[in-house]
C-alpha cells in the first residue's frame, strides 16, 4: 500500500518555444514526490524555473516532457495556488475576494461571505472585510490571498514565494501565522521560498534546488516535532540545521 503519496513528478521537462528557434529550456529533469499532508519547501536561487514548476504542478501548464503521476488515480482536487503577488481582484471587496472560490462554484453569496468572514477573523483582518483590496497593505493583501486559498480546503496547496515581496518584519509575522495554521489544515503543501529559516520553521522536508540546469540536488528531512513554537528559531539545533542548509545551497552554487 503506497497510498500515502499524493503526487509524483517524474522527469519533468519544460521548454518554451515562443521566442528562440531552439526553445528556452526552463526545466531539465525534475523529479519529486509529495506525500499526503506533508509540508515541503523548495529552496534555491531565483530565476531557475521554480514558478514554472509550480504552474505545472498546479495544472496551469502542460510539461513538454515527463509526467505527473497520481497514485490515487485522480488529480488532487481542489488545488489552490498562492502566487507571488496577491492577485486580488480590485473590484471585489476583501470579503468577496476570500469568498471567490466558493462564489465561482455557485455557493450562495450569504453562505460564502459568512465563511470568508471567518477566515478573515482568523487572519486578524475581520475589520477589513468591506475594504477594497487597493486599501490593504502588502502584508494584509497576501494574508487575504492565503485565506482565499485555504477556504477551498485544498488537497494540494502550492505557494510560490508567497512572502517574497514583503518586508522582513511582515514576512516573519506571516510565517509564524502559517506555522500555526499548519496544524489546522489537511493539505499537502509545497512552498517555494528563499528563506532558510522560513523553510525550517514550516516544513517537514526541504528540497534544495539548483538553477541551470534546474534540478533538485538534495533533500533534507526536518526532524523538529510539531506543533512548533516560534522559540524554535532560537535553539542551537535550529541554527546548526540552518547552517547545514546554507552550506548545501552555497557549495552547490560555487561548485558550478
Amino acid at each position: 500500500m503506497e497510498n500515502d503519496i499524493l503526487l509524483e513528478a517524474k522527469h519533468i521537462q519544460m521548454t518554451f518555444f515562443d521566442t528562440k528557434d531552439d526553445g528556452l529550456h526552463v526545466l531539465d529533469d525534475i523529479s519529486l514526490t509529495l506525500k499526503k499532508k506533508e509540508f515541503v519547501c523548495l529552496i534555491g536561487p531565483s530565476g531557475s524555473g521554480k514558478s514554472t514548476l509550480v504552474r505545472i504542478l498546479g495544472g496551469l501548464l502542460e510539461p513538454t516532457g515527463g509526467e505527473l503521476v497520481y497514485p490515487d488515480g485522480k488529480e488532487p482536487d481542489p488545488r489552490a495556488i498562492v502566487f507571488q503577488n496577491s492577485n486580488l481582484l480590485p473590484w471585489l471587496p476583501t470579503v468577496d475576494n476570500v469568498a471567490l472560490p466558493l462564489l465561482v462554484h455557485g455557493v450562495p453569496k450569504k453562505e460564502a461571505r459568512r465563511e470568508a468572514e471567518n477566515w478573515l477573523q482568523l487572519f486578524g483582518l475581520g475589520d477589513f472585510a468591506n475594504e477594497w483590496p487597493n486599501n490593504l497593505s502588502g502584508g494584509m493583501a497576501q494574508r487575504v490571498a492565503i485565506a482565499r486559498a485555504l477556504i477551498q480546503k485544498p488537497q494540494l496547496l502550492l505557494m510560490d514565494e508567497p512572502l517574497g515581496a514583503l518586508d522582513a518584519m511582515t514576512r516573519e509575522q506571516i510565517s509564524l501565522e502559517l506555522m500555526a495554521f499548519r496544524e489546522q489544515i489537511d493539505a499537502t503543501v509545497l512552498m517555494v521560498t528563499h528563506s532558510i529559516s522560513e523553510a525550517l520553521l514550516l516544513s517537514d522536508r526541504i528540497l534544495i534546488y539548483s538553477g541551470r540546469p534546474a534540478r533538485i540536488i538534495d533533500e533534507m528531512k526536518i526532524p523538529f516535532p510539531r506543533p512548533r513554537q516560534p522559540e524554535l528559531r532560537d535553539t542551537i539545533e535550529f541554527m546548526s540545521m540552518a547552517k547545514v542548509v546554507r552550506k548545501k545551497i552555497f557549495s552547490q552554487e560555487s561548485g558550478q
Binding site: 504552474r55 498546479g58 495544472g59 496551469l60 482536487d77 481542489p78 488545488r79 489552490a80 495556488i81 502566487f83 503577488n85 492577485n87 481582484l89 480590485p90 473590484w91 471585489l92 471567490l100 472560490p101 462564489l103 465561482v104 462554484h105 477594497w132 483590496p133 487597493n134 477551498q152
Partner: protein, 262 residues
C-alpha cells in the same frame, strides 16, 4: 512664512475660484457675443444674439415644435447607444475568446473605421426608409466600432495572473465572465462609452440631415430653409444638452461602478 492654516486657506480659495471659472467663462462669452451682435449690426438671419435665441427657444417650445423633435433625437441616440453597446459586448466576447474569429473580423473593423458615417447615411436611408430606424442604425454603428476596439483592448490588458487564478479554481465560463472579464474590462468599456455617447449624437444628426421627418436634424433643415437662424441655434443648443446628458450619465456610471479605483 505662512502657517499651516493659512496655506490651507489659500489652497481652499484656489479651489473655490476654480469652481467658478468655467460658468463665468461661458457667461463672459455670451456677453461678448451679445455685444458683438449689437455693435456689428449683423442681421439676425446671419448671426442672432443670445437674447434672440433665448426668445426663439421659448416661442418654439410654445409652438410645440421643440420638445417632440428633441425627444425623437434623444430616443434615437439612446436606442442606438444601447444596441451598439450590446452588439459590441457580444461580438467582443466572441472575438476575445476566438483568435480565429478575431483574425476574420478584424480587417472589417479596421476598414469600417475609415468609412465616414456621413457617407453611408444616405445608403441606410435607401435601405431603411426615412423613419427613425436608419438613424438608430447609424447611432449604433457610430458607437459599435470604437466600443468593440476598447473591449478587445480591455481583454488584452486583463492580467494573465488573474486568469491563472481562475483556471486554478476551475472556474466555469460564466463565473469568469461575471467575476473576472466583465469587471476587468469595465473601466475601458466606460472610457469608450464616454466618447461614444457624444459621438452617437453626431450619428443621429447626420442621419436626420440626410433625410428625416422628425428630430433635431430635421428641425435644423427646416429652420435653415426659412432663414430662421435663431431656431438653428436653438436646435444646436438642444443637441449639446443631449450630448451632455449622455456624457453625464456615463460619468455617473463610472462613479457608481468604479468606486474601487480611488
Amino acid at each position: 512664512m505662512l502657517g499651516v492654516s493659512e496655506t490651507m486657506k489659500k489652497s481652499e480659495n484656489k479651489l473655490n475660484l476654480g469652481k467658478w471659472v468655467p460658468p463665468l467663462s461661458i457667461l463672459g462669452g455670451l456677453c461678448i457675443w451679445e455685444i458683438f451682435v449689437k455693435i456689428s449690426n449683423y442681421p439676425a438671419f446671419i448671426l442672432p444674439a443670445p437674447s434672440r435665441i433665448a426668445q426663439r427657444f421659448v416661442s418654439a417650445a410654445k409652438a410645440g415644435i421643440l420638445w417632440p423633435n428633441v425627444w425623437v433625437t434623444f430616443y434615437e441616440v439612446l436606442l442606438g447607444l444601447l444596441i451598439g453597446c450590446a452588439a459590441a459586448l457580444v461580438i467582443g466576447y466572441i472575438l476575445a475568446h476566438s483568435p480565429v474569429a478575431e483574425k476574420i473580423v478584424f480587417p472589417y473593423v479596421v476598414v469600417s473605421q475609415a468609412v465616414p458615417l456621413a457617407a453611408i447615411a444616405p445608403l441606410l436611408i435607401i435601405w431603411f426608409g426615412s423613419g427613425i430606424r436608419p438613424k438608430i442604425v447609424i447611432c449604433a454603428l457610430t458607437v459599435f466600432f470604437p466600443l468593440l476596439i476598447n473591449i478587445l483592448v480591455g481583454y488584452r490588458e486583463l492580467e494573465n495572473n488573474l486568469s491563472d487564478l481562475f483556471t486554478s479554481m476551475k472556474a466555469g465560463r460564466k463565473a469568469r465572465l461575471i467575476y473576472l472579464e466583465f469587471p476587468g474590462i469595465l473601466p475601458v468599456l466606460l472610457g469608450g462609452l464616454r466618447i461614444s455617447a457624444t459621438l452617437s449624437v453626431i450619428g443621429a444628426v447626420v442621419g436626420e440631415l440626410s433625410g428625416a421627418d422628425a428630430g433635431l436634424g430635421y428641425l435644423i433643415n427646416l429652420a435653415r430653409g426659412q432663414y430662421d437662424t435663431a431656431l438653428v441655434f436653438v436646435a444646436l443648443l438642444m443637441l449639446m444638452v443631449i450630448a451632455l446628458v449622455m456624457y453625464g450619465t456615463v460619468i455617473l456610471l463610472e462613479k457608481l461602478l468604479l468606486k474601487y479605483r480611488k
